[in-house]
């Protein structure tokens, strides 16, 4: 007998319609109890994290970065763009920069990442012809590729409409719930509990970086207050920096490293020239670091062998914190400035940049000069 897709009669050799059975029960009451339990549990979880000084903040997601990157594509004539690593994210206050210059910068800095591939990316982007501020954290510019947050750039290139909408829908939740944070995911919290014994024979792995920031909608970020106020938490952060930096892969042989650095400088020269050819300008900033972190940086990437050649290759102005007392502000965990000093730092950098550019006869509308 032949069945029909126009009929629900099962026929020989066909798969019939299977009507799923529904377990009998008082489902409405069950659902009400379920909802009540979930609300209570989530409320308790949220209260616990707020008691740990966690406040709602934006998630620094790949989608949030892609949204900022698309602002460059709008081709604003006087766009100001920041690239760099977490110091460039934390140390500047975008609203203060806007007060000083009249332009809100587009914050594209990515933590733990090398900004130079992004410099190349923007040099190739015909839409960009404004002011580019490149934050330099010396060891990071030697890592191959973008590094830790390369996924954000890939996400920008491949983002689907669904992901784009998902980012927008996520914002209200990020702004409401403190527990909605990468550092507070269930399995992340479980993994860092002290009760896990060391596994004999397991090679040492540096711990992951904990939460140290609170981010705003425009990717402006502050150092989390608890890093300053809680000595125990501060010690966790500084020991993490040490563990990561002390376990970096060994550098390549000197001749290989020299050649790689020469190639890097040549690429910087090409990139900066490409941006200037379109009417843009590139400036460099070396934000402050302190204590062990600063000593490490001075040892592996001395100023005279990295910062100075970089500026020379770019033929650009550069603001190094060591040259300006007003930029030598406290860095509670050695690498990022206290949020209380962001305003001072930001205003000082704008002022110094204006002065240095003016000395070269350059007046940029992005700096209001």
């Amino acid at each position: 007998m032949r069945s029909s897709t126009s009929s629900s009669d099962p026929g020989l050799d066909t798969e019939p319609v299977i009507l799923r059975d529904i377990p009998p029960g008082r489902w409405a009451r069950t659902v009400m109890l379920t909802v009540a339990l979930v609300v209570a549990a989530i409320g308790g979880w949220e209260m616990y994290w707020r008691s740990q000084q966690v406040v709602p903040a934006y998630g620094n997601s790949d989608g949030q970065w892609a949204e900022a990157r698309r602002k460059v594509d709008e081709g604003r004539p006087n766009a100001t763009v920041f690239i760099g690593s977490s110091r460039t994210q934390f140390d500047f206050r975008l609203s203060v920069w806007e007060e000083e210059t009249g332009i809100e910068p587009i914050q594209l800095a990515l933590e733990g990442s090398n900004p130079l591939p992004l410099l190349t990316d923007l040099a190739r982007d015909e839409d960009f012809r404004g002011l580019l501020l490149v934050g330099i954290t010396p060891p990071l510019i030697f890592q191959p590729g973008i590094g830790l947050r390369a996924g954000a750039v890939e996400h920008y290139r491949t983002e689907t409409p669904s992901e784009r909408l998902g980012t927008l829908l996520s914002y209200p939740l990020e702004a409401t719930f403190a527990f909605y944070n990468f550092d507070l995911k269930l399995f992340t919290v479980l993994a860092r509990q002290p009760w896990w014994p060391e596994r004999a024979g397991l090679p040492y792995q540096p711990p992951p970086v904990r939460k140290i920031e609170n981010m705003r909608r425009n990717r402006d970020a502050d150092l989390w207050e608890r890093v300053e106020t809680d000595p125990e938490y501060n010690a966790i952060v500084t020991s993490t920096w040490k563990a990561i930096l002390e376990n970096l892969p060994p550098p390549p042989p000197p001749d290989v490293a020299r050649k790689a650095f020469e190639d890097l400088l040549a690429q910087v020269t090409r990139d900066v020239e490409a941006i200037r050819a379109r009417g843009g300008e590139v400036v460099f900033v070396r934000p402050p670091s302190s204590n062990w972190f600063r000593e490490f940086e001075a040892r592996v990437a001395p100023r005279e062998r990295v910062w100075e050649p970089l500026l020379a290759a770019a033929n650009a102005v550069g603001v190094h914190f060591e040259d300006h007392p007003e930029l030598q502000v406290p860095t509670p965990e050695w690498s990022h400035i206290s949020s209380r000093f962001e305003e001072q730092f930001t205003r000082a950098v704008v002022r110094i940049l204006r002065k240095q550019l003016a000395e070269r006869g350059i007046h940029r509308p992005e700096l209001g000069s």
Binding site: T5, S6, S8, D13, T14, W27, K185
Partner: protein
């Protein structure tokens, strides 16, 4: 769009509102069709054209096959459908693979030919919906079913969003009749559908992505070889990850369809409690294994043409089943191992049929564990990035790790894998001969609420990583 995304929450809420609005049935079906196209276009709008192509092709081909009794014409029409669907699949999924192998073959005979760059993006779910539309034309060709008379119903069958991109691969006779009369979920159907959706998301977000993926990724992504312990832990983690990922998707799909009033068939029945490989394939990706049985194994002759031919048919079916999963020889080996297991099992079953020991509990448990052990060996080929990596893992799992093998899993990952996999095997064992609906029917309401709330809470605090389901890439 992904079920485990905020975009889907908004999308599904809108679909439910429209589906429960006082609108004519045809309008509601039109809404579902448009919603399904939007669901698919949310990944990549241009690929909707492929869905349309597949839909139009099989709509006309099936009608033409039905209208003619001329054998050669029927065959030619079927060939058009096969060429269209398999051609599309071949171009997008296997093009690069074929080129690489052609280049290797040429090189082997001394001809220098380099494959051109092949950067074609694989349209999500293409393996699923092409098989679904081919089943429609094949059913009509094999005179198993008549074509439907309504294009809207057929288009919705091809595109129905809950199972569009990762199954279950539904047969026309299972779904199209459900579109003919107005359907609306009862309150209990709707709520049970939500419970299944929660279970599916829990499996995906908490078990697959949260608990097991870190260990599986660490082991299979390790730069060096790993020793016996980590090789097994990584493989066990992957066995649990892929089950929870795929069964999670299927369960969510069934729940979503149920919320709309439609019934989709089971795709998994606690496969890690399988005793033997025939049993495993009656429990794992059921909609694919029955598809391959009905449209490949049986047309090849099944078990009707003698022992040797049966073994060959089994092997061909499983090799192609492996290739269906991905354009790489590692998938072919995965399928080949399953074909081998099925063949050996068939031989042993024939030789020892009726043996008294076969009925004992200890023997059955032992056979179940042996099945799980052998299934795990196949997962190595499924997950490893290439053959050298797979061989390193197999060697380590058999107690002969390569020199320089180093541990990669921290204690918390070791404990997580052991706890989750032990729990999973216990659940599969206990549920081997039961259905979830039976268990839920017997459980008190408060207990169901506690379990349901626990899953929802775990989903919310795990937060998810937005990872796509593994089977989307197939």
């Amino acid at each position: 769009m992904l079920f485990n995304s905020l975009t889907f929450v908004l999308f599904f809420a809108l679909v439910l509102a429209l589906h429960h609005a006082p609108l004519p049935w045809t309008v509601k079906k039109g809404n579902l069709l448009v919603a399904s196209y939007l669901f698919y276009a949310a990944w990549s709008p241009p690929f909707v054209l492929l869905l349309w192509l597949s839909t139009i092709l099989d709509w006309f081909v099936a009608k033409a096959i039905f209208r003619t009794e001329v054998v050669t014409r029927r065959r030619a029409l079927l060939a058009v459908s096969m060429l269209g669907n398999l051609g599309m699949l071949g171009y997008f999924k296997y093009g690069g693979f074929l080129m690489e192998n052609w280049a290797a073959l040429m090189s082997a005979i001394g001809v220098t030919w380099s494959a051109p760059g092949w950067s074609i993006v694989l349209p999500v779910g293409i393996s699923f919906y092409t098989f679904q539309t081919m089943a429609y034309s094949l059913d009509v060709y094999l005179r198993r079913a008549e074509p439907t008379t309504t294009f809207l119903d057929f288009a919705l069958f091809v595109t129905f969003f809950p199972q569009l991109v990762a199954g279950p691969i539904v047969r026309p006779t299972q779904l199209i009749p459900q579109f003919q009369a107005p359907v609306r979920a009862s309150r209990d159907q709707f709520l049970w559908g939500l419970a299944l959706l929660t279970l599916g998301l829990f499996e995906k977000t908490v078990i697959a992505d949260g608990a097991l993926a870190p260990a599986a990724d660490a082991v299979f992504g390790a730069a060096t070889a790993v020793p016996f312990s980590d090789a097994w832990l990584g493989t066990l983690a992957f066995s649990g990850q892929i089950f929870s990922d795929f069964a999670g998707y299927s369960t969510a799909a069934i729940g979503i369809a149920l919320c709309l009033g439609f019934s989709l068939p089971d795709n998994f029945r606690f496969p890690y409690a399988a005793i033997g490989f025939s049993d495993f394939w009656r429990r794992w990706h059921i909609s694919l294994s029955t598809w391959l049985r009905d449209y490949l194994y049986i047309p090849l002759g099944g078990n009707r043409k003698g022992w040797h031919r049966t073994q060959l048919n089994l092997m061909v079916t499983m090799l192609l089943g492996g290739l269906w999963h991905g354009a790489a020889w590692t998938f072919v080996v995965w399928g080949g191992l399953h074909g081998l297991y099925l063949g050996v099992e068939r031989w042993l079953t024939g030789r020892f049929r009726g043996a008294r020991i076969a009925g004992t509990l200890a023997f059955r448990v032992g056979l179940g564990l042996l099945t799980y052990f052998l299934v795990n060996l196949t997962w190595v080929f499924f997950r490893a990035r290439d053959f050298p990596a797979a061989w390193r893992m197999i060697r380590a799992m058999l107690g002969f790790p390569p020199a320089g093998a180093a541990l990669v899993l921290a204690t918390h990952l070791v404990v997580t894998v052991l706890v989750v996999i032990t729990g999973m095997l216990l659940v599969h064992g206990l549920m081997r001969n039961r259905r979830l609906e039976e268990v839920a029917a017997r459980a008190p309401g408060w207990l169901t609420a506690v379990v349901w709330a626990g899953m929802l809470f775990a989903i919310l605090i795990t937060q998810g990583s937005g990872n796509a389901f593994i089977y989307f890439q197939f």
